[in-house]
């Protein structure tokens, strides 16, 4: 999840006034909600909704790191005895928590390897052509989506591969590179389970009998059509853009050979071996029947047994804030169930029921439009949590798989058009500006719109497939 990382240390320098207003809203809006619903709901439910709203406002305005509002919420509901401690903190011993922890350890190990450095060295040594370089960036982005569950982390890892190709005065060419970089690392993030922490949050929000259907391969099967549409659309869009910018990209560049990469071949190959083991374990699950989270955790333990990661590296590389964030958020479903609020939330959207009953396509179109509008104001992670919390119980009401609704919300809310909407885009723009690189913002915006529509198209094309899989 890009946003969780993005939020840390990204406070605007002159934000005192904004922060004051935002913190005031954290108190004011829940109070107004309390007054509004005072007579309609039991006290426990009402207080929980007010606290949840306060957390959501904190998320929307990025007042603290993302994990803080979630942790504060479960702390307060426990202190107020609204929800038993076992329910409030259930995220910390859920399967998802261990899955994310294990994946993060493996990703931390991968970040310590020199594979990308080696790739860059090869590209430079062979004076790789522009298309080859692009291909390498896309492939690295997609491959990393398999193993690094953070779009921002992936974008940072791939950054050196594109950095050398930015040229002064070639705004469209640079925009093209930036696009490849951004979307190569983000477009498939919801297609592969391990591509985004919010995927794990969705998995954690599903009940056990549903979530077991969507472990790694099951998830990939369910998203395969959407993935294909996005991949084909991505390649087609790149082809169109590359034709448009061909004249600018012709000249070969003389490049500096990158500084020597610190190489530890044992670590590199061992990491690759671990991922191979993981892949084999995923593919043979029907034989060994061991849940994915225990496999991943075992591999993570193996890393420590063989001294693959030192403590200082672990402190530096492991994304603890996102791990805590996931643990706090997956408890929302059980807490709502415990308080009897799931059904209340599902009943708050009566307008959606006839829409879905009339036509699934219409229902999804309205849903996606709603997600788009909310994403104009709300960052990706909070937007997903708000929408998933409100809408997953609703899936039950209309008799479709909650995963489908969750996936649609996730895929659309991970789309972005303007830099403020996504950490990867804002980081890219900040980096380009810092390097004083010319780039064409209108080109970026236009293609972002295209890719956003591509995500929506992928959902529509997937509907018959999901019907065939008996999800809807």
């Amino acid at each position: 999840m890009s946003d969780a990382q993005h939020s840390i240390g990204m406070q605007q320098p002159d934000s005192t006034y904004r922060d004051f207003i935002a913190w005031s809203l954290v108190g004011l809006l829940p109070w107004l909600l309390y007054l509004q619903l005072d007579q309609g709901l039991p006290f426990d439910q009402l207080i929980f909704l007010c606290l949840a709203l306060a957390a959501i406002v904190m998320w929307i305005f990025r007042l603290t790191p993302d994990f803080v509002p979630g942790l504060a919420l479960i702390l307060v509901v426990t202190l107020l005895d609204l929800v038993p401690r076992e329910v409030a903190f259930s995220g910390f011993y859920s399967q998802v928590f261990f899955l994310v922890f294990g994946i993060f350890v493996l990703a931390a190990l991968l970040a310590e390897t020199s594979w990308l450095g080696r790739l860059e060295a090869v590209l430079v040594r062979r004076q790789a052509s522009f298309p080859t370089r692009l291909c390498a960036v896309v492939c690295a982005g997609v491959l990393l989506t398999l193993v690094v569950p953070s779009p921002l982390g992936r974008a940072s890892m791939v950054q050196p591969l594109v950095q050398r190709f930015f040229r002064k005065g070639r705004a469209r060419n640079n925009a093209f590179l930036a696009l490849v970089h951004m979307h190569g690392t983000t477009l498939l993030s919801t297609i592969i389970l391990t591509g985004n922490p919010l995927n794990f949050v969705l998995l954690g929000m599903l009940d056990e009998q549903t979530s077991s259907r969507f472990e790694w391969l099951g998830w990939l099967q369910a998203t395969s059509v959407a993935g294909m549409v996005i991949a084909i659309g991505f390649v087609a869009a790149l082809a169109v853009f590359s034709i448009a910018t061909r004249r600018q990209t012709g000249a070969a560049q003389t490049e500096d050979v990158p500084g020597s990469v610190a190489v530890d071949p044992v670590r590199d190959w061992a990491t690759l071996g671990l991922y191979t083991l993981l892949l084999v374990a995923i593919l043979t699950r029907s034989i060994h029947q061991i849940p994915l989270e225990w496999i991943v955790l075992s591999l993570a333990m193996t890393v420590f047994f063989f001294a693959g990661l030192t403590l200082s590296t672990l402190r530096q590389r492991l994304d603890w804030p996102t791990l805590i964030f996931v643990a706090t958020v997956v408890a929302w479903g059980p807490m709502l169930d415990h308080l009897g609020l799931s059904q209340w939330l599902a009943n708050q959207l009566p307008v959606l029921v006839p829409l879905f009953a009339q036509s699934l396509h219409l229902g999804f179109a309205v849903l996606m439009a709603g997600v788009f509008v909310i994403r104009l104001a709300v960052p990706g992670a909070p937007a997903f949590i708000i929408l998933a919390t409100a809408l997953l119980p609703f899936a039950e009401a209309i008799g479709i798989s909650p995963w489908v609704l969750g996936f649609v919300i996730l895929t659309v809310s991970e789309g972005f058009i303007w830099p403020y909407q996504h950490g990867v885009f804002s980081q890219t723009v900040t980096a380009l500006d810092a390097e004083r690189t010319d780039y064409s913002m209108p080109s970026l915006i236009i293609f972002n719109i295209v890719f956003f529509l591509l995500r929506c198209l992928a959902v529509f094309v997937s509907i018959p497939f999901w019907k065939a899989l008996h999800f809807i």
Binding site: S212, S286, H288, Q289, I290, E396, G399, H470, F471, I472
Partner: protein, 394 residues
């Protein structure tokens, strides 16, 4: 020398990991996997009672059993498409997890899941059974679809688990179980002797005329099966008039008015799938409270939840027994050699709301009150009172 120890250290670690992996693998291979599939969801007290019974059986067995539970939730979505999707989901779970035995609870799960997992005798006419099931599943919910719609045309060919049924009211011939050699289970056939005894007590306590009895149920598949079984039963000394399957609240109200006009005592078993004029499900507690308030003669429930939903009295099959026996049968079917039995329910529950009994001014045998005092839950106004009476055979 130093590098030798470094390598040796890693070899020792690898060896330790292998030992642990071997331990885990052997633990996994020793486990018996049993999947419990409920037709409905935990919003039904019946389902929770059965789960309680299953847990008790699991605690009592020395075997290592890995049990998973799946709730098809069909009561809340009585439409063909949802039936189909839920069945496909269970099939996926069975294919993926490969349980050794599958316990199927209530009729719909037998049709949607059990029929697919049978080891049928060579002479069985599978297509004929499938056609009957297909029509039964479609009911008035949708036009009878192609056999492939509910996946009735393509039986499981790979791993076939042991099938254990529970909560089945009538026979299991409809599901082809009589032609299969991998089926055992426990019936939920009503304890008719106990029902008739209680009806006699109610008739004797009631001061007005009792012309007979009438069963009233919703139009769900289970409700219709109940009605069918009721029609086949000898209810002497009572005259049993034909049962009613109410689709709507209007049907239900008309049936109660009809029973009042004809001085019939109502028997009610299934009432969760009655819809109002807008097509919404009528809340069960509202329906039963309304029925209790508007029925002239005493109403007897045949459902564990009946008294909690506002009824006066119920005589129902114990869900916990269904769960316990189903799990015991599943374990027995996996023994070497396998033991496959079909048993009848032996335990039933009596529920009674004392305040409603008094409201109707009925003098019932003190045994009911004695039971409740025995377990120390007797209060003047009681919402829910169940007493287990063991060993009362059919």
């Amino acid at each position: 020398m130093r590098s030798f120890f470094a390598v040796a250290k890693y070899l020792v670690i690898a060896l330790l990991l292998l030992v642990v992996a071997r331990l885990v693998a052997s633990q996994n291979s020793e486990q018996t996997k049993i999947l419990v599939v409920h037709s409905y969801n935990i919003d039904l007290a019946w389902v929770n009672d059965i789960d309680g019974g299953i847990r008790r059986a699991l605690e009592d067995t020395p075997l290592k059993i890995n049990a998973r539970t799946y709730y098809m939730n069909l009561r809340n979505h009585p439409d063909c498409n949802f039936y189909k999707n839920a069945a496909a989901d269970v099939r996926f779970t069975i294919e993926d997890w490969q349980p050794d035995a599958v316990i199927l609870v209530d009729d719909l799960a037998q049709a949607l899941v059990g029929f697919d997992q049978l080891r049928l005798a060579s002479g069985a006419d599978r297509t004929a059974i499938a056609n009957v099931l297909n029509g039964w599943l479609a009911g008035d919910r949708c036009a009878t679809p192609d056999l492939s719609f509910f996946h009735l045309d393509d039986p499981e060919k790979g791993h076939i688990p042991e099938i254990v049924f529970a909560g089945v009211n009538g026979g299991v011939e409809r599901y082809g179980y009589n032609h299969a050699d991998n089926v055992s289970g426990i019936y939920e056939r009503k304890n008719y002797a106990a029902l008739i005894e209680t009806l006699i007590s109610l008739r004797d306590a009631y001061t007005g005329e009792v012309a007979g009895i009438m069963m009233l149920n919703d139009a769900s598949p289970t409700g219709q099966t109940e009605n069918l079984n009721y029609a086949l039963e000898d209810w002497g000394p009572f005259e049993a008039v034909p049962p009613v399957s109410a689709i709507t609240l209007e049907d239900w109200e008309a049936a109660v008015a009809d029973a009042n006009a004809r001085n019939l005592m109502l028997l009610i078993a299934n009432y969760q799938n009655v819809r109002d004029a807008d097509g919404h499900l009528v809340a069960p507690d509202f329906l039963i409270a309304w029925t209790e308030a508007n029925a002239k003669l005493p109403v007897l429930g045949v459902n564990t939840r009946f008294v909690a939903d506002g009824g006066m009295m119920t005589v129902a099959i114990a869900g916990s027994e269904q769960g316990t026996v189903a799990m015991e049968l599943a374990i027995a079917s996996l023994a070497d050699p396998p033991v496959r039995e079909q048993r009848d329910a032996k335990q039933f529950l009596i529920g009674m709301n004392q305040s409603l009994v008094r409201k109707r001014d009925l003098e019932l045998p003190t045994i009911y009150e004695a039971f409740s005092r025995e377990i120390g839950t007797f209060v003047e106004i009681i919402e829910q009172l169940y007493v287990v009476q063991g060993g009362a055979g059919q």
